[in-house]
Amino acid sequence: MTETITPRFVATDDPRPESVRPELEQIRRKDGDLMLTGRGGYLDDTVLPGMLHAAILRSPYAHARIRGIDTSAAEAASGVRFVLTGAQAKDQTSPIPHYFDPALVGGRTADFRPLAVDEVIYAGEPVAAVVGVTLNDAEAAVALIEVDWEPLPFVIDAEKALEQGAPKVFDTWEDNAMIRLPFVEGNAGPIIDSAKHTLEGELRIQRYQTAPLETRGYIASWGTDGRLTLHASAQNPHPLRSHLSKTLGMPENQIRVIAPRVGGGFGHKFHGYPEEPLVALLSRAVGAPVKWLETRAECMLVGAREFIHRFKVAYDEDGKILALRDRIIADIGALGASGGWGMAFIAGMALPGPYRVKHYDVESTAVVTHKAPWNGARSYGKESAALAYERIMDLVAAELSLDPAEIRRRNFIPPEEFPYWTSMKHLDSGEYAAALDHVLKLGGYDQLREEQAQARSQNRLVGVGVGFELTPEGGDFSGTLLRGFDTSTVRMDPTGTVTVLTGVTSPGTGNETGIAQVVAAELGVSPHDVTVVQGDTDRCPYGYGNFSSRSMTVGGAAALLAARDVRATLVTAAGVLLETTPEQVRLAHGRASVVYEPDRNLSIEELTRAVFVRTLAVHGLDQAQLESTRTYAPSNVHNVPDELGRSSPYPSFPYSAHVSTVEVDRETGLVKLQNYAGVHDCGTIINPKMVEGQFLGAITMGIGGALWEELKYAPDGRLATKSFKHYLMPRANDLPWIKVGHEVTPSPFAMLGMKGVGESGVAGAIASLANAVNDALRPLGAVIDQMPLSAPNVLAAIRRAERS
């Protein structure tokens, strides 16, 4: 049963059940003891009997025709069991369904297969696969495959790809623009044209990715009954199964997808990759389990977040933004079936962020190029929008000599205007200025400014940067298998232990711990007595897995609803056994007791046992089911446009405020991050330690993306960044102590008032650092609008300013 919950709590009460309040119980991460002792059980740790290993030949060309392919030497090599080419794979498959089909929003689309057939459209595209007894055998044989290549013209720059006569990625398309997505309200054009004060600018954001420490992998095995099992380090096992069933043309219930413990997801493990069906085909051909594990270099092929913004704003003397225009270009690579291109949609939709801008005209154009396709990356385009609106705030503030904090206060949507409609978003609730004020206090903003003034008087380049991000979460995209609702089962057994089976998954964030907490609180048991099962399509209810920071807000809420059903049976039975009414029964600390008469009690184990062994044998004991399955759907989703044509796929809108200080070395361009503070509001918090961990991880990912991380293509169209020696992620000694604070503005629409945590922090960190570095460079008259804020890019900006 799908159910929409109306708010049960008013914002001023602490809506959490008593026993999940942190001051009452500190709970440690579930399975921590296993993970700490090397018993985590990740994909790479799975060994099936007789398992063979696959390696993939990838295109060395950005664009080329395959005139012929000779696999005979590879087939004859030692330890080789099977070689598969694109033509053979095509015969056995239908196109891989899109994670998020562009056609749903009017975009152009294309078919993708496990292996390229006649033509490759990016360097790194899979061309052939070898199964070997060992991985070494398979890799050695890959080198023996001979392909007759005819290199073709290619384009790896989105703006060039839009030019007349540019090489096309897809022959059947008129040009390389996959879609132009408008997000418009009011009359931005005329206002900008006639405004007294306007300002324009450009931002260029590099290609970078999330690089989870565990790369992707799959193990396929076919049972003698013809059933396929795919172990996959994947974030959405059920939708992956649905899509595999289409690709392989077999009944979905004949496929089992098992996602073991995942070593970091962040969007990289959304599905739609060619290797998913590929491994299944290989395993079927050799009649043995086949494993493929992504190498780090293969992992780095996956792109994301490469955008150009060209904006123009009109503002008044007080710094109020009157109108905003932004033309966004997203270089989405060669499209693919995986879930990345949608970031171009969100990058447009997320504008104008937390600001009350009534006239805007945003257009986001997703452009295909001969680079590897995108997949999701934590923040999913919201980081791109935030960088734009936060740079705009600072640029306007500088024009008017206003403090960056002040201009934000003047433009924030005020608390009393919620819920608030803006560009495909129905904002739930927010106290934006409170979060900003909190972070300014936490970060010691006034003192930072004083220190900056002092540093400037000594000719040092010190900058302070404010960043604010609005993070739409819990997305619900009708027409896709990315839905906002999810399902959980709660089951109690005769000995009183609890099992939760849920459709949401954990990419390593630990939401199973939070889910166990809310269920345990409802049933009066310890979270340790609750086992949470995720990621197994044979055991768990159909669900949408992990994306959009939704696991607690929907999976946890569904589990809570189901737990309430079980609780109702328990208190009824306890009422019979304790000779009281169900309303007088309290479940807590492993016991059912009578309110105000705690001596009349029995253990939860005695109670559940009684339900199983004595129902229908004791008068009044007539409900035997200690199990319930519930679906929770967030209530602030507006898929059906209202009378004004407004719709909103996201139900909740957490946000965060950031302030950082940097010092730039004038001679080298090196940026040193000196101070950082962030304040986060994700509504109700279930487990503060874990929320803080998510926020810190997100901030750090944002810092890496702002300062160092970049996937660089060489002029020959090949990816030059292949290892962590070139892809520079933050290390512990790169970072200052990050001060973290929390505000709690519950969502009036969501169960327990939760808004979701996980993504929020990336975007604000990027924005804050871009503002800080630009602030540092101001005395030189230098502006940096090319990300990352790496030493070469900063130095180039300094040199440019010196020349002019």
């Binding site: 002792t37 050695a140 070593g263 390593g508 810190l696 992620m729 512990a732 000694n733 102590w737």
Partner: protein, 177 residues
């Protein structure tokens, strides 16, 4: 599920040898190829899956273990060169029922999320505390700088190591100098 399979062992392809290691306190003889890395032998032949692979390039530290008392990145070592050596993997630090203090500290401080990076951080933490039981935050950050963690942002790892050092101090207070 079998764990005894030597998935990277293919007798035909490269010359091999038998090596003897003392692994987590037990003497083990394994067949390996000359080109096999220590991490491969530990994971595949010895079926100790707690040592992880994040890069195979010496960059991330997920494959950290202890060889002859030194912490090493086992993806940078040929297994054959460890012949006769004493290997301790993350599995040796403690068991779920009996965690080492450093493991308790990581758990108490939420010093990990997905857990994939733990081998590097746990060994680096232990190593640091053995030589310096009152490390500053900067010393802690330097000590773990050879490891990558993509989930935590390191701060909770720093707190974990602070805590582990404090409990080490409580265990055996040093004579004041």
């Amino acid at each position: 599920m079998s764990t005894s399979q030597a998935s990277n062992l293919s007798p035909q392809s490269t010359p091999g040898r038998s090596i003897t290691l003392r692994v987590n306190g037990e003497s083990r003889s394994v067949e390996c190829h000359d080109r096999q890395l220590l991490v491969e032998v530990v994971r595949d032949q010895l079926a100790l899956k707690g040592t992880h692979v994040g890069c195979m390039n010496g960059d991330c530290g997920a494959c950290t273990l202890e060889l002859d008392g030194q912490i090493v990145k086992s993806c940078l070592m040929l297994a054959a060169s460890a012949d006769g050596g004493e290997v301790n993997t993350v599995e040796s630090l403690g068991s779920p029922d009996e965690l080492a203090p450093v493991q308790e500290a990581f758990w108490n401080n939420d010093g990990f999320q997905c857990g994939f990076c733990l081998p590097g951080h746990l060994f680096a933490a232990r190593n640091l505390i053995e030589s310096n039981d009152a490390p500053s935050d900067d010393e802690i950050r330097e000590a773990i700088a050879g490891n990558l963690c993509r989930c935590t942002g390191y701060q909770s790892i720093v707190c974990s190591i602070r805590d582990a050092a404090a409990s080490a101090r409580a265990e055996s207070p040093r004579a004041s100098v």
